[in-house]
Amino acid sequence: MSVSMKSERPSRLFRNLNAKIASVPMILTALVVFVGGTAWTVLYSFTNSRLLPRLNFVGLDQYYRLWAAPRWLVSIENLLIYGVLSLIFSLVIGFLLAAMLDRKIRFEDTFRTIFLYPFALSFIVTGLVWQWLLNPEFGIQGVIRGLGWESFNFDPLYNSSIVIYGVLIAALWQGTGLVMCLMLAGLRGIDEDIWKAARVDGIPTWRTYVSIIIPMMRPVFITTLVIIASGIVKVYDLVVAQTSGGPGIASEVPAKYVYDYMFFAQNLGQGFAASTMMLLTVVIVIVPWAYLEFGRRGRT
């Protein structure tokens, strides 16, 4: 900004100065960390930086190597399985719980408090508790075998083909309460008259939900979807605590790949390329949504 044309005031820059000073942290965060940091990482993902970042460009080499690495492919596969299932299950369970709490029941506050408390706990605590519960010797498997069912088998954390489902169980325990809360807010926003009208017309309850309520809650579902999805891509602490990526590399996730390559393997270029792929995943999720939500609204 430059000096204004008819200047009784010295400069436009100094008008409303205090507000600008107050916004300096925001401006620095937005420009330096968010824009600058992201651009920096994307730029350096095209270099062969190892221990230290160096601007020695090697084109798409890091990406070729990334997509040839078995560990990265396992990570992506896990993220897909985990992501799709946790989206479906947390939406379904969250909605069912919210619908049940919305049926004018007693002790609603108590039930809500119980369903939501795991969300207050960190992923580390969640992961460690479920590591203990799924311990094959002492945990759920051990208890049921102890009851006489000797051949009972449930040891997801030690079986590489199903380990990601063990992580999923813990994640759902931790996160469905939040979905339930968002859904409950949505259900409470629906006019009581709609229920009355449906009852007068003799429409069964489940039918009212499927054909009237759920379509009306579309914005709530979309917001929830975006919130869950952006959480899924970031999943890291839960895996670290519950399985440490094991057995072997069976429960690796992209966020852990990034961390390990940047801070352990001293292969920064790989880490940058992997994190850029994570960014791309988020862009793929967010942009169509933003387009649908705001593009349409903008036109009308």
Partner: protein, 313 residues
Amino acid sequence: MSNPAVLSSTIAGADAVRGELSGPRGPKPRSVLSRRNIFLYGTLFLVAVYYLLPLYVMVVTSLKGMPEIRLGNIFSPPVEITFEPWVKAWSTACTGLNCDGLSRGFWNSVRITVPSVILSIALASVNGYALANWRFKGADIFFTILIVGAFIPYQVMLYPIVIILREIGLYGSLWGLVLVHSIFGMPILTLLFRNYFASLPDELFRAARVDGAGFWGIYLRIMVPMSMPIFVVALIIQITGIWNDFLFGVVYTRPDTYPMTVQLNNIVNSVQGVKEYNVNMAATLITGLVPLIIYFVSGKLFVRGIAAGAVKG
């Protein structure tokens, strides 16, 4: 992209939670023991048991001795209650060479959480106030970048921040981590405060202006005293969020300044020595205690906070 609109709808949802959760509406159901009710309450009860089970197992395991754990099953209540695992988890559990228990991590977490919470709320509330009441040209552009930035995976920005912290000499220190928490708390908190301040009656602001109050005077004497509820919500979001953080703790601090979550993970997942499940569970429980207490004390305000804070992921 105008992400702010959707985020504000999230907060509006949170407001709906606050407004509507005061109690079920409409007439009371007629018969308590109808088939529908038995099914409904039965299902809710079973689900509630499922949700409570891990907490219960944590508590009973942490109160048993190791021999009892090896013999019994994880769901049975302790025959002989012992607090030894709690003492051990707090003061002598080992991470690598250090054997001074979780207490060090606990105090590190306190020393990280308190300044982070104060700094992030101070920055974000002043900033939200400037955005709501003293808009200047270009402010909305930066704000939009800030909100969109909240969706960028942290992994993308991890290393650039390492460089920034190293340049200003804060890498590895508690203050570096405080700065990181303040940066990443900014999008959601600024949004929260901006929307709240914007909802306050404009006449107040104008009357204060006429009376000659300036930017800081209005903020300190009118805005802050009028906005205590939103400050409490921000406090809840930040305390639980920062206390539960693992990623930033492990990246930006050194072993002697590790926050509690990192130390807990190192204690439980350490490969050396015999696994002491009771000590592990006691340590896990101690770490979860702070957010749990905040959750049970704050009640509905927490619901408001998480609905807003969920965006932070």
